[in-house]
Symmetry: C2
Subunit: 335 residues, 2 copies
Amino acid sequence: MTINDIARMAGVSKGTVSRVINHNPQGVSEQTRQRILELIEEVGYIPNRVAGSITLARTKTIGLIIPDIQNMFFPQMVRGVEDCAMENGYTLFLCNSDSNIHKEQQYLRAFLEKRVDGILVNTCGELEDRSLYRSVCQSGIPMVLLDRKSRDFTDKPGVYVDNQEAAYSGVTHLIDTGCRKILFLGGPKGVYTTGERLKGYRQALREAEIPFQKEYITYGAYSTASGYERVRHIIEAYPETDAIFAGADTIAIGVLRALRELNIPVPGQVSVLGFDNIMLSADLTPTLTTVAQPIYEMGYRAARKLLALIGGDPEGAKSECMSTTLVQRESTRSR
Amino acid sequence: MTINDIARMAGVSKGTVSRVINHNPQGVSEQTRQRILELIEEVGYIPNRVAGSITLARTKTIGLIIPDIQNMFFPQMVRGVEDCAMENGYTLFLCNSDSNIHKEQQYLRAFLEKRVDGILVNTCGELEDRSLYRSVCQSGIPMVLLDRKSRDFTDKPGVYVDNQEAAYSGVTHLIDTGCRKILFLGGPKGVYTTGERLKGYRQALREAEIPFQKEYITYGAYSTASGYERVRHIIEAYPETDAIFAGADTIAIGVLRALRELNIPVPGQVSVLGFDNIMLSADLTPTLTTVAQPIYEMGYRAARKLLALIGGDPEGAKSECMSTTLVQRESTRSR
């Protein structure tokens, strides 16, 4: 039993049967659709899934991989993705990779098996499983990168900010307000965003002719605990410190807590600059100066781009670089 | 092999086989259902999915509905659910209802269509769509309630804490440390957790023979903004206030910020008590005394319970009440 037999029995074209199977309602009356579906059920026709790579019908699902929903940066982004998905009748698979490539791979495999219509990924690095890499490419499932570029999927569109430019503007603000001994408490070493923000930091120092000191740089998790622990050690080693650029607001929260416990006034003795502008940054004591990313909007736009790709709209194939803004609050000096 | 062959071999009608395949238990005895399922497995019959309505195989997906992932209480809970799901080869649909019953219904419909293997829900109230309610019941899809009891699904198991007892222990701590004029900044009116926490508050006052003053009670969103805005008004109206019981840590964050702006010392003049113990509560200024719920664990256990139900384990059918602990930090006086 083939699609041709079904078409013959129903007295319609092969294209019509195909459209019904693929839930594409264009040019098929409801009556015809019902008749074909009944016929298909009656004869027990099972469509041929060529090489496992052709999906019969839209599953109306999107798969999203992020490092960790508990990192305060991600809930807003996920919410943006989900709102856009929901408005378009899609449901969202949420997956936490813990920046572990094996977990990321496990989820990509699940997405292929579950035949998601599209994939959004905040990737943690290169896939070790190259056969999986090829399967993802060959599956034809649209993919959009979110927040971080990928070394594997270099031809996939993404939604980013210019992390270098953003960090440059933040560190320049520190320098403009008189800071010279600026520590950088970066995110994980090797992660795209960490590297770009370090470039921005170095560029700002270079333009101000402040020598770069590599011992002022540390790497660690994008977490409050990591900021808290790192700052206690580094401030002891470099008591001349007059500013700290935290590679993320979550890191800055830990920094503020540690400085408070050490009775180091902020910004009197040390200015603190964050990155992200998570919702909470305006509620901290002192309120946090930070480089704002449009977090919710990035998620929303990435989802919209993915849905465009799923719908065959070429607009979806273009990457997008969104703007950041420096938000000055109490944790840095004013000019 | 068609549905007709299965029906003939089982000695039942085609409709009966169809109902079994569709998880519709109406008019089919458990014995017949088992027999048909075994037969289907034995002959390796693959139901025709083309008609869009028949699945037999597990989809290995769980649907989760929460109010809003941006509320800092939920990321940890969602992470607990997802970790348990992942360990068991399941993938998680994350859905935000915004405590809007229409969105909750829309997601429940999507879960039925997508044939999730199980549903976890932090419900926002009674379903208006009673036909959907019946469909959910009849679908036979296991359901576990999370954090909030449901007026509809009273026979479904859930994972909760004893919110009344928890609030009672927190407010008793305020009273023990000398507070008498205690405001309650509750969550949304009509929501299960708000009502239970108010009961605990009243119980503590009653035992200490402190008169209950209903003007000390306000309701609002479980959000920082709601705490911030409410406290500014109420503290002006009741300057005798010596403590604030915030119905959630997110509310308490806004309260602390407002009190700081008003130059009201915490806990010197006003003690502040939270509820939840979100990760951030130890990083606030001052650090927040709060009633700790096992947030991650609740999510994890609810998922485990759901997987037990999916696997037919009767242990899954029992509700679970987890314990809370008072965590004393800087925002309340010590005894």
